[in-house]
Symmetry: C2
Subunit: 135 residues, 2 copies
DNA sequence: ATTTGTAGTTGCAAAATGCAAGTGCAAATT
DNA sequence: AATTTGCACTTGCATTTTGCAACTACAAAT
């Protein structure tokens, strides 16, 4: 059970989701409204099925996501964010902001640049919306 | 050369430093004033020498760090942050903040909790200090 | 000429990842 | 009632990355 490499808070965060996939699943739930295994598989980055299952299980164990039977379809599962998961939003915003600043200079990214210029407001707006569906 | 899994800015950031070690090196430069290979090796998380060499090389290629001969010792190298590297500060702060919120409830973390309560101010202060030594 | 300090590289075993195919099970279809 | 479909995985296997220990290179100090 000793999974922490040190007691540094940065290191502890990375111990949980310091990989190329975990935060993309969170992004999908948070920003794209995805809720199911099948939906996560359709993202552009093409996560492998075993890796997805593994990460969902980790995120569930860490109480970042909760897995429940779909209310509309009894043979389907839906994943949703806990408050702990919703609180990852500022991290995602900063990751995106940095990338936009240094890598995106195309027309297509003008929207995201405007968002990034009003970061505090954007954060608050999204955060409020997330509140309505945290478990 | 096609290292980007998608054009999502979150994904692009993770393509570069989405692993358990890269951001710890940045933390060491940024928060602990470490500058050399030998100093990075002494951190609590115990990075392996080959991984450290590999990550330093990636961070240098991405122009997040610059490597120069030490002005005081001609047979030593020093690494320093570029502006692009210094701009990773908000990401580190949010990673730490999240971890502090959900994992640290001991006396020892009272300091970091106070910092996290004055995040904007802390960010500005550290950021100003970093400006003096970006390359 | 030898030792020390610094920054790596190399070899190899173990773990994580990627990919394709297969499984289990409930619901819908025939 | 039997078969097919949809969904959520699991499994097997090859490739890649990581971790660990030992070794190398080279300049400076002794």
């Amino acid at each position: 059970m000793d999974k922490n490499r040190s007691d540094c808070p940065v290191s502890c965060s990375l111990d949980i989701f310091g990989d190329k996939w975990s935060l993309l699943i969170i992004r999908d739930v948070m920003m794209k409204g995805k809720v199911s295994y099948g939906e996560f598989l359709t993202s552009d980055e093409k996560i492998a099925t075993n890796i997805l299952a593994n990460r969902l299980s980790t995120l569930e164990n860490e109480k970042i996501l909760v897995k429940e039977v779909s209310p509309t379809n009894k043979s389907k599962f839906v994943y949703s964010l806990t408050q702990k998961g919703a609180d990852l939003l500022p991290i995602l915003v900063e990751l995106a902001d940095w990338s936009i600043k240094y890598y995106e200079n195309t027309k297509a990214s003008e929207l995201s640049k405007r968002i990034s210029g009003r970061k505090a407001k954007f954060l608050q707006e999204v955060s409020e919306k997330l509140q309505e569906r945290v478990k």
